[in-house]
């Protein structure tokens, strides 16, 4: 009954969304402000409706309603309540609903802003947001109903939306339970973060479409959505990092990124999103790249939808892929619709997107930003090809191939290095004009510093050529960024007479975008240090040892002491826990407890590492069962991951950086940048 109620509210949400689309179009075409307002109110209504739907589903999940198929598939009695709630996004049907719920929340937020100066955008933003929502809710209503219930008929037990004739409701005793890999705190935040990122990119896209449709092709749409873009980028980055951390913690593969097709599907919009973030600055400062920015946001949105489609349709094989379902065709229709409409619109309005100035120097900041875009797009091309090629190969030659990490690493390595180099040069270059001389003057000191650091690394730590190049570039970017930061604070200190720390603080506060950006760059360098460390210097070893024996690796000695196994029946888990002692160069460091958890309901194992984390490295010990585990012998697999915690620490700083960059300014939105562009150029060029 409750499930039927939930389905009913879902259907009402679907109808309201559809109404909103048609009312907005009708209101715009017939110039009826009342209809547009009605559409806006309908869109506002979707959020309470979807919240009610979601609330119903969560109620069913928490209260063990196993006659509902979705509840049966993703929960079980032994799961703690918080996991039952988060199981909402643990399966296809629920996660589609979660997408829709987020979409309605963001669309509502956008409609609540002050539309006085942008009335002509409103109907089209509503249309784009609601068409997207209608598709996702439609997939729930017609193909993947989270409220379908299990009925026993002549043919067996199957899920149905409406009770079939001659059937009775079937209520299993217990659910199948969530895949143990998903029963981790990371599960609580990783999918929501990713979806937040995906969904928030719909808003800038909606405004871009509105700009194209109305012909209002100045950069009003960019100004309005600048902060949305930043927050979207924040969520997406955080979602990707969290996914990496979660994989690192529970998969037991010793890594954080596998170049799996579904990971790449979420990574591609991040690439275009980052390119977009930089390229809109060119439009704001110099009035250029209007075509390109349109293209980028369209590409980002389409990659988001495409990525979501690839994950869920069964077209690609991946560890992440959801079980196959019938939503494929509808999703495909949606992709076709959005791709064709966006491309047609931008071609139609191409001439209207004229540039206002031309480029004067190949070393100006806008030129370097364009190079940045080229590099990001190149990485995108590599990733896209890596994902599509197996599909093409299988369809046209019948031969299945796998494109794995070596391809991506070799192809994108040089591109990432070039990006690092750019990050070191661009902050020193000025908008509008820069020459080799001005750049050279600015960069020689940090370069010398970077060379010095690299020589030290070469002498004391490593001769590996990739590490040398990588650390040189990281050092260069760090020094350049710190230098720029320091110059600004020093100038401020001299002119305002503040002490240096106050100067730093005020400088950042006054120019949040620029200095937030620098903090973000610094944090990315920290992450790069972590990535270089683990990718280039990871060591691993594996061996079967009896109790009392040791394994040596990279200066550590790991001694297997004992193992114990016990059941936790309420949780439905059997734990096998080993105790190992860790020594470094003879000094006792402590003990670690790698575990193997066996979940009875899903009959699956989880390998939980015993991990010792320091800024220098991670000592990562796994208990694996190549041989049966006992006191006579256990197989231990040990990774030493140098510098990996710089990656996680860097991502925290990254978050702070974005918050600073996105923090609302006291200045109102319509401060014209063009008026004081000349002033800024003069300032920047010194």
């Amino acid at each position: 009954m409750i499930a039927d109620f939930g389905f009913g509210v879902l259907v009402v949400s679907f109808l309201v969304t559809l109404y909103s689309v048609f009312a907005a179009i009708y209101g715009e075409v017939k110039k009826s402000a009342a209809m547009v307002e009605s559409a806006r109110r309908a869109m506002l209504l979707t959020w309470p409706l979807l919240t009610l739907t979601a609330g119903t589903l969560i109620y069913l999940l928490v209260n063990n309603h196993y006659e509902v198929q979705f509840v049966y598939e993703v929960t079980s009695r032994s799961m703690p309540t918080y996991l039952k709630v988060t199981a909402w996004w643990g399966g296809q049907a629920g996660s589609l609903l979660f997408w829709s719920w987020l979409m309605s929340a963001f669309a509502s937020l956008v409609t609540l802003r002050n539309w006085d100066r942008d009335r002509e955008f409103l109907p089209w933003v509503i249309v784009v947001a609601c068409v997207t929502m209608a598709f996702f809710i439609g997939m729930n209503v017609f193909f993947e109903n989270p409220f379908a219930q299990l009925y026993q008929t002549f043919d067996g037990i199957n899920p149905f939306t409406f009770q079939p004739a001659d059937s009775i409701l079937f209520t299993p005793q217990d659910g199948r339970g969530l895949n143990p890999l998903l029963r981790h705190p990371g599960m609580v935040i990783h999918p929501p973060m990713l979806y937040l990122g995906f969904v928030s990119f719909v808003i800038p896209y909606a405004f871009a479409m509105a700009a194209l449709i109305t012909g209002r092709t100045d950069d009003r749409w960019i100004r309005i959505t600048r902060r949305w873009t930043l927050w979207a980028w924040l969520f997406l980055t955080f979602g990707l990092v969290l996914g990496g951390r979660w994989a690192y913690d529970v998969l037991g593969w010793g890594g954080y990124w596998g170049w799996d097709p579904v990971e790449i599907a979420a990574f591609m919009p991040w690439l275009t999103g980052t390119a977009f973030l930089h390229s809109v600055m060119i439009q704001e400062k110099r009035g250029m790249m209007k075509h390109w920015n349109m293209l980028l946001i369209i590409l980002t949105y389409d990659l988001v939808i495409f990525g979501t489609f690839l994950t869920r349709s069964g077209v690609l094989s991946s560890v992440h892929a959801f079980a196959q379902s019938a939503i494929g065709p509808l999703f495909f229709a949606f992709i076709g619709l959005t791709l064709i409409t966006s491309v047609a619109l931008i071609i139609y309005r191409w001439a209207a997107l004229k540039s206002e100035t031309e480029m004067t120097s190949m070393l100006s900041r806008e030129a370097l930003f364009l190079l940045n875009n080229l590099l990001f797009m190149s990485i995108l091309v590599v990733c896209f090809w890596g994902v599509i090629y197996p599909l093409i190969s299988e369809l046209f030659t019948g031969e299945k191939v796998t494109v794995g990490p070596p391809f991506y690493e070799r192809a994108t390595g040089p591109l990432w290095a070039a990006l690092l180099l750019l990050m070191g040069i661009a902050p020193l270059s000025a908008w509008g004009h820069s020459t080799v001389k001005t750049l050279g003057r600015a960069i020689w000191k940090p370069t010398v510093g970077a060379i010095a650091i690299t020589v030290a690394i070469y002498m004391f730590y490593t001769r590996d050529i990739y590490a040398i190049i990588g650390f040189f570039l990281v050092a260069l970017v760090l020094l350049v960024t710190f230098y720029e930061y320091w110059r600004g604070a020093y100038a401020r200190q001299r002119s305002q007479g503040e002490n240096i720390f106050v100067a730093f603080w005020n400088l950042t506060g006054r120019n949040r975008r620029r200095y937030g950006g620098y903090i973000i760059h610094i944090s990315i360098m920290l992450m790069a240090i972590g990535i270089l460390g683990i990718e280039l210097f990871q060591t691993e070893t594996q061996g079967t040892v009896a109790a009392g024996d040791s394994i040596d690796i990279s200066g550590y000695t790991i001694t297997y002491r004992e193992v114990a196994s016990w059941d936790d029946t309420p949780k439905g888990v059997n734990y096998t826990r080993a105790v190992v002692d860790v020594y470094e160069n003879g000094i006792y460091l402590g003990e670690l407890h790698p575990r193997k958890d066996y979940y009875f309901d899903s009959q699956q194992n989880m390998t939980i590492p015993g991990n010792r984390s320091t800024m220098k490295d991670d000592l990562y010990v796994l208990l694996i069962d190549w041989q049966p585990i006992s006191a006579d012998g256990a197989t231990l697999k040990i990774y030493v991951n140098p510098l990996v915690n710089w990656l996680w620490m860097g991502s925290l700083l990254f978050m702070i950086g974005i918050v600073i960059a996105a923090w609302p300014d006291k200045d109102p939105e319509h401060v014209t940048v063009r008026a004081d562009r000349q002033l800024k150029q003069a300032n920047a060029a010194d």
Binding site: S318, V319, V381, Y389, A411, T541, Q542
Partner: protein
């Protein structure tokens, strides 16, 4: 005499046995040797799971195959080829023909770079034209000044 001979024999046998033991230990593939190759292969059955971390029974058997082949002295390339023949090239972590995989993205990126640099040139041209005309104007002005001076001089001389 017999005792000495049998002791020597005993020692020789012992030496031989321990030597073969040492020899076997040197060549017996460790888990690390197996993993080094398994890392480059994917489980033929599970989705996108590298062979060194795959937990299933079947994967265990495949890793033992690697170990057996290593004991027989097979090289890494031979082992990978064996897996490709048995299970298809999809178990390799890169397609065996690198040409197509790297060629297409390479071409596309090259086209992008060419488009970008042509764009740079296009955007710069008008300014270059202007600066040329500036130069012409300046020259023109200079010439006018010179002429005026000449005229003035000539007038004075008259």
């Amino acid at each position: 005499m017999k005792k000495i001979l049998s002791s020597i024999l005993f020692v020789l046998i012992l030496a031989g046995a321990s030597a073969s033991l040492v020899f076997a230990q040197d060549t017996f593939p460790t888990d690390d040797d197996v993993n080094k190759i398994a890392k480059q292969l994917y489980c033929p059955v599970c989705e996108s799971t590298p062979l060194d971390v795959c937990p299933t029974e079947a994967c265990r058997q495949w890793r033992e195959v690697i170990r057996t082949m290593l004991t027989e002295g097979k090289s890494e390339a031979e082992i990978k080829q064996h897996f490709a023949t048995q299970y298809g090239i999809r178990v390799l972590n890169v397609p065996p023909n690198p040409w197509l995989t790297y060629f297409i993205p390479g071409v596309v990126i090259l086209i992008g770079a060419v488009m970008l640099f042509r764009g740079f040139q296009l955007w710069k041209k008008p300014l270059v034209a202007e600066s040329v005309s500036d130069k012409d104007e300046a020259e023109q002005v200079q010439q006018d000044e010179y002429l005026a001076k000449m005229e003035a001089e000539l007038k004075r001389r008259k």
